[in-house]
Amino acid sequence: MIHRQTLTQLAADLRARKVSSVELVRAFLARIEASQPALNAFISVTAEQALAEAEAADRALAAGRGGALAGVPIGHKDLFCTAGVRTTCGSRMLENFVSPYDATVVARLKAAGAVVLGKLNMDEFAMGSSNETSYFGPVRNPWNTHLVPGGSSGGSAAAVAARLLPAATATDTGGSIRQPAAFCGITGIKPTYGRVSRYGMIAFASSLDQGGVLAASAEDAARMLREMAGFDPRDSTSVDAPVPDYPAGLGEPLAGVRIGLVRQFLDQGLDPECERCVREALAVFERLGASLREVSLPNIPLSVPAYYVVAPAECSSNLARYDGVRFGHRCADARDLQDLYKRSRSEGFGAEVKRRIMTGTYVLSAGYYDAYYLKAQRVRRLIAGDFERAFGEVDLLMGPTTPTAAFALGSKTADPITMYLNDIYTISANLAGVPAMSVPCGFAAGLPVGLQIIGPHFAEQQLLHAAHRYQLETDWHLRIPERFA
């Protein structure tokens, strides 16, 4: 069955002309269509365009041309701007917004020959941990459709887990790649801040947002990331450093690699079954020759409060441009300018987005700025310092991605704080800007559990390598929900 193959295999088969891109695209489009009522992973499916791109890819491959991903079907989280195809950000505000340009990530994957099947569902403006804040309805977890897939990249994760696509783009501001990867039993990587261009990636919190990949395996993620990463002169925060050939660097032995288990991640909130899976995974790494020790990052408990000051502050400013004047939702029959602003924004944004805009506006206000925003920035530096010290002792940090496996739809929507605590293990990597992954490492009561691997700045290669070695020893990443097998 085509859909069970990894992106790596598909890319090779396409190049060997064992399969055509049109065949692949047809097969995956059929799966997408069949899954949509149950999963709601897509906001837009671009079947016609995808088939045209697939035909072009087949012609290129037949002529011996085509990029590294020629003919490979992928999808984009619906906050990457795509020229000619609407980009909604999961919001009513942008329900009908068609970008006039391609995001840099979109353009690079297009240049590599990837074929886009559609735009994936997500929490509104990437604000959420369950994909329940989407204006286009929640995405459901392929392992159990009563459960959430995680968020905000829930559509991307569910689609890859159900093998509606071999891989998809995603973004991670506080865990939005890793948490859904863990909940859906797939592999996700959030690169170093600045590694992947943010140009054309609709902003939530600019100093934390980072584009990345959700895929079936570390090797597949490496292939995607190689095409996406790199300096972009249109993003002043992107880093001008060479991009290693990630897939080529996989497979080195792990002997001598020093792994630190983050003590603060083994708190009372951690589900014992999840802890068991993580400890078993660490045992595998030890068998492979890595050394293991416990490491303390004392300021990690401050990461959630710091994050929920910094991220809303930036979001309150980033989302000011949605004012009903030039693009996006505009209220009907505005009486005057104030009315236009108030009603367009009140109607266009959902409750979680409004909550964060209000929180952010508050923490930046005169008289509160020092107490909240500046203090949060100081905490951020402390956390970055914790990581720096830890990486003086160990090469990689590991721990659980989430405190529990996927939870039921609607179970946390009433209390934002319990929802926010779901990101307790993932947020610190965003605050410090370091790269982090989530890799499937077992099942707790039949639901996937993620192992989180964190590295120093620009250590994507080491992360992918460790994850790949682990995946050579285990088959958790090859498990597919029965319904979609």
Partner: protein, 479 residues
């Protein structure tokens, strides 16, 4: 009535003369059809990001160095958040806590000729907003975002000016400076150079500041003077009649010649400044500063001092001639052609030429009368080919027709008569025609000497060399 002192600080906004905008590649040229020079970044489209224009940084550094300020090795762009239709992102990218230029001073010359130093607190880089258009749209307001993202440098003075005149002198000096530095075209009608004035009054001798009002967006020197005068008088009258000045933003209405309230302190926006996470802190290397410093032109004060020393001009004349770089360059080009006559050149450039330009509303750089052409005229005065009086006639012809001084002198036969014989013959003819006056003169009516000078000049169409004529008349009239 007690004596009051006015306290003024200015915030000058100068648009930097970069070709593209401060954070995007769109053109900055003025006057294009609305919204044709606004790209996706200027429109604040979802997903777009700002990239700093290095040329704007260079220009700000030039300004900082020219006023002896510190150039921050690290400065930070911040977002100033507020909603307005001509502000597409809902925030303006500016600099707040860490501006690129801090500390500095500008010297102005007061009416009594003394020099006063005005401190410049800071100068920071920011983007301009778009414009709201109200004309021809009925009850609607149009938005033109061509100006959105145009680079500005905001120059903030200390509250050290004490009269509207001083404020105007300071603003003119800054205007001169930015044009010398070629960082701003200084076009005030197009809004390239405009200012906000902070005005307060206090009893003379007090060391406390009064409550200030900020008069926004004044775009001419004359309006600055009038707005400040009006505002100071308003505040004094208010206080003297028992009222209190409110801290508020006011607008100057040039038609009515008054300022009026725009919004009070209570209504003021909380701008929620914070560092822009899309832009890294701006780092400036010492070597870069040195390079910019090496490229600075001779600045107005240095040039004026040189003109006094090198050309023997008065401080006043040197000040006038160095008020713009074009004027100073023109003057020096004239002097190069007639090196012996720096003062004559100064008089002509500041006098007849300035008047002629002014009359037609032209700038010195318009090329209407090249320096070489004016020098050609001055050379003929210097070598006595024509008198100063005839020179004015020649100048007018040159201005009107564009021919050279020599060609006009030749064509109109204006060459001065220096031939003693010719002048003598003219004198003899005049004496013969006016026997009665001659008799009176010889009888002791000395005043008639002037009459004879006039008559001979008339007979020679003004061309007789005045000195020679005097001498010969003195010899001949007594008989």
């Amino acid at each position: 009535m007690s004596a009051w002192e006015t306290v003024i600080g200015l915030e000058i906004h100068a648009q930097l003369a970069t070709r593209s905008k401060i954070f995007s590649g769109a053109a900055t040229a003025y006057g294009a059809a609305p919204n044709t020079q606004a790209c996706l970044v200027d429109l604040g489209y979802p997903g777009v990001l700002p990239v700093l224009n290095a040329e704007a940084v260079r220009m700000a550094v030039r300004f900082g160095l020219a006023i002896g300020a510190r150039i921050a090795r690290q400065s930070v762009f911040a977002r100033k958040n507020y909603f307005y239709p001509d502000l597409p992102k809902g925030y303006q990218i500016s600099q707040y806590e860490l501006p690129i230029v801090a500390g500095g001073a500008i010297d102005i010359v007061l009416e009594d000729g003394s020099v006063k130093r005005i401190g410049v607190t800071r100068a920071h880089l920011e983007e301009d907003a778009g414009k709201s258009l109200h004309e021809g749209l009925g009850s609607l307001t149009g938005i033109d975002l061509n100006r959105a993202g145009t680079p500005l440098i905001e120059i903030v003075s200390e509250p050290e000016m004490r009269s509207a005149r001083e404020a105007v002198a300071y603003m003119k000096k800054v205007h001169t400076l930015v044009r010398y530095l070629e960082i701003c075209d200084g076009n005030m009608q197009e809004g390239s150079f405009r200012c906000d004035a902070n005005v307060s009054v206090r009893p003379a001798g007090s060391d406390q500041f009064g409550t200030r009002a900020e008069i926004k967006n004044i775009n001419s020197f004359r309006y600055v003077e009038k707005a400040i005068q009006y505002e100071a008088a308003r505040q004094i009258e208010l206080i003297e009649s028992g009222g209190k000045v409110a801290q508020e933003t006011r607008l100057y209405d040039p038609d009515k010649g008054e300022t009026r309230s725009m919004r009070s302190k209570e209504e003021a926006n909380d701008y929620r400044y914070f560092p822009d996470p899309d832009l890294l802190p701006l780092e400036i290397e010492a070597a870069y500063i040195d390079t910019v410093r090496a490229g600075l032109p001779e600045l107005p004060d240095a040039k004026a001092a040189r003109f006094v020393g090198q050309y023997g001009l008065s401080a006043y004349d040197a000040g006038v001639l160095t008020a713009s770089r074009d004027l100073a360059d023109y003057y020096e080009a004239v002097v190069r052609a007639v090196p012996e006559q720096p003062k004559l050149a100064a008089n002509w450039v500041m006098g007849d030429l300035a008047a002629a330009l002014n009359k037609e509303g032209l700038e010195i750089g318009s090329g209407r009368l090249p320096a070489e052409a004016l020098a050609g005229l001055l050379a003929r005065i210097a070598d006595q080919t024509i008198s100063g009086k005839i020179a004015k006639e020649v100048f007018e012809a040159m201005w009107a027709g564009g021919e050279s001084a020599d060609a006009i002198i030749e064509a109109k036969g204006l060459k001065q008569i220096t031939d003693t014989g010719a002048i003598e013959r003219a004198i003899e003819a005049v004496m013969a025609e006016n026997p009665a006056q001659l008799a009176d003169y010889r009888a002791g009516k000395d005043k008639l000497f002037g009459f004879f000078v006039g008559q001979v000049m008339k007979a020679t169409q003004g061309k007789a060399n005045p000195a020679q004529l005097n001498e010969l008349l003195k010899k001949k009239l007594p008989g």
